[in-house]
Amino acid sequence: MSVSHSASRLLHNPKVRNTAVQALVVVLFLVVAYEVTSNLITNLRRANIHSGFDFLSARAGFEIDKPLIDYNGNSTYGRALVVGLLNTILVAVAGIILSTIVGFMVGVGRLSRNWLLAKICTVYVETFRNLPPLLVIFFLYIGILQFLPQPRQSVRLPLGVYLNNRGITFPRPIFEDGFGIVLIAVCVAVLASFLAARWARARQAATGKQFHTVWTSVGFLVAVPLLAFLGTGRPIAFDYPTLGTFNLKGGAVIGPEFIALLLALSLYTASYIAEIVRSGILGVPQGQTEASKAMGLSPSATMRLVVLPQAFRIIIPPLTSQYLNLTKNSSLAIAIGYSDLVAVGGTILNQTGQAVEVITIWMATYLCLSLATSAFMNWFNSKMALVER
């Protein structure tokens, strides 16, 4: 009696129960982990695969189209993965910039008083939000391959740019001696406009007098590098593409895979960003606009100084997750053969059979990219956040 009574008390003691539940979960986890690991070791031994990351220093033996760093078939698997990672970062960064521009334009367009513009933006958002990104990528890729002309009949655009179904060919800049001075001039201009902005802010805080910071900065950024450029004797030349019998010669090429992937990711993500921007602007109370008008601010100053800073607080957290989604969706590159991290890793996986290692590298890399992006956006967010007492 007393034994069962104390047992029942023990059973209903929250502390004991909590500990027991957690211990059970840990034991269960360890059992599954042990089982999985032992199966893995047996299976790998039977398939004659040596686990470990030694394969990274072995010869890759496959080519990658247009690598960003020196790479050829004799390079190592590790270097191939770095090439893939750089391609991923390239398309992700370009996509983030492009989708932000398009997204903000469409989001503001949907709020326009112009009925036609608002409707066109709505149709855009509703179309792209309800399509799988993979389908958009295929559609653009096949569209570029099918509907752009052969290299022989390339479409000629201004500034020596050619467009055909092998991609965009544009004049390749060749930097000569003295270009370093121009780069230094750019840095000086950036620093000067930064200092001017700081001075203008301090003066406005002290005296209330305003200063045209934007135009001063533009002046610095255009004039100083231009003077340096002319002063050093135009240290830049261009390798212009020329139309040969069958193909374009010279110039630099951006392949159709990159263009299709970049456009598809940007257009798809822009439809989400547009909605985020729209809800952010609508989320700023009407009273804020009215109060700012009552204080005599012009409509553009109202937008710039009152509405947008508050809208940004609403916009930034969901915008971060869209940027992360874009980065992760760039892994769909494998479907059209753009050599990003996943596509290169897939080739290595097929060649070596090191499935566990390759997938671990993938996951670790994307986790790091995600963490880096969200760390940056969290910093930006805390800078923009409401300062309360």
Binding site: V36, E126, N130, K328
Partner: protein, 381 residues
């Protein structure tokens, strides 16, 4: 003399003056309010005047609606019957392959089975989605427990029906199966994960948080590769899991991590007093959650839940990368059919697939808007 006047008859309201109403005024206010506005409108009209007729022409007027092989969609140079400057959609291709796009390579004489499952699904889903239809519990039981079991035997075989291997399943059918199972699994799993992440037990919290954050940090395609390449390595010798099932597991656990974060958002929005009130009534943890917290939390995040469903429906197209034939996969598979290969075939096929995906996703998002308004009981603060 009496100068008092009290109106005892109200005058009827006059319509606004002619200059303030009607179509011209609407146009002036909405399209030509200012110089910039007029310019924008003109640019839009010009763009539309170029794009819309071109599109309509390509999609409908020039399109090859009927035909039995590629010659109907190819110009004379490409070996077809169309004039040299012809370009239009090849709907004949979509018509010829339509049943394959829906059922994949499911044996033709057995296709009544997926059709029957489809009819059962519609019969059970429609009343489930209609708020005023009676017997919701029974309906849910049939839809989420009975239907999957019946469907499995109908689609796979058994009880006298010949077995159809999952390799032969494909098309829209697989997309819908994947999404349905994913939705049914990810919601409860997501709720458990969200509760685990907010649990007071540190071990449970750690496991749930790690699981959610890792899955949300990686692309779905790596999870699918893991399910298709790595999972067999984890299993004991001789044990094999069906390829389709592996994909379903991958998509479901991926979606459940996103679902968990949506539900957690709802849980965080419920005031602490609700939980304390339930505690003071002596409810156990599970009763408190089931009766008090979750009903309120889930109601708050219906749009987020439906968005996750839409995301999963779209993501299901990724299984075509690991060699399975969902709707997008089977459409792409048919591009290489030599009897239909023309320059316009791929774009036409993708347009069809895109149209189907769009209809489903748009329908879901519209339903979510309706549900949101229906569930809004005015308790917003």
């Amino acid at each position: 003399m009496d100068s008092r006047f009290v109106r005892d008859v109200m005058l009827t309201a006059e319509p606004p003056p002619l200059r303030q109403r009607g179509f011209p005024v609407w146009i002036r206010h909405n399209l030509f309010a200012s110089t910039t506005d007029s310019l924008v409108t003109l640019v839009c009209i010009l763009a539309l005047a170029y794009v819309v007729p071109t599109l309509l022409n390509w999609l409908f007027i020039q399109a090859a609606w009927t035909g039995s092989d590629r010659s109907f969609c190819a110009t004379a140079v490409q070996g077809g019957i169309q004039p040299d400057d012809w370009s239009g959609a090849c709907w004949a291709f979509v018509r010829a392959k339509f049943s394959q796009f829906i059922f994949g390579r499911y044996p033709i004489d057995q296709r009544w089975r997926p059709m029957l499952v489809g009819i059962l699904l519609i019969l059970l889903v429609l009343p489930f989605l209609t708020p005023y239809a009676p017997r919701k519990n029974l309906n849910a039981l049939l839809l989420f427990i009975a239907l999957p079991v019946v469907s499995f035997f109908l689609l796979y075989g058994g009880f006298g029906l010949p077995v159809v291997e999952t390799e032969r399943w494909g098309g829209l059918m697989v997309t819908l199966i994947l999404s349905f199972v994913g939705i049914t699994v990810s919601l409860p799993l997501g709720i458990l994960l969200a509760l685990g992440r907010r649990s007071r037990l540190p071990v449970i919290r750690l496991f749930s948080t790690t699981f959610i954050e890792v899955l949300r940090g990686v692309p779905l395609i790596t999870v699918l590769f893991m399910a298709s390449v790595m999972l067999p390595l984890f299993l004991p010798d001789g044990m094999d899991i069906d390829k389709l099932l592996r994909a379903i597991v991958g998509v479901s656990i991926f979606a459940s991590a996103y679902m968990a974060e949506v539900i957690r958002g709802g849980l965080q929005a419920i005031p602490k007093g609700q939980s304390e009130g339930a505690d003071s009534l002596g409810l156990t943890y599970w009763k408190k959650m089931y009766l008090i917290i979750l009903p309120q939390a889930i109601k708050l995040v219906v749009p987020g839940i439906v968005n996750t469903f839409i995301g999963m429906f779209k993501d299901s197209s990724l299984i075509s990368i690991i060699g399975m034939f969902d709707l997008l996969g089977i459409v792409r598979f048919n591009f290489s059919d030599p009897s239909w290969a023309t320059p316009v075939t791929p774009v036409s096929g993708l347009l069809f697939a895109g149209f189907v995906f769009w209809i489903f996703c748009f329908g879901m998002s519209r339903y979510s808007g309706f549900l949101e308004r229906h569930l809004d009981t005015g308790h917003r603060r």
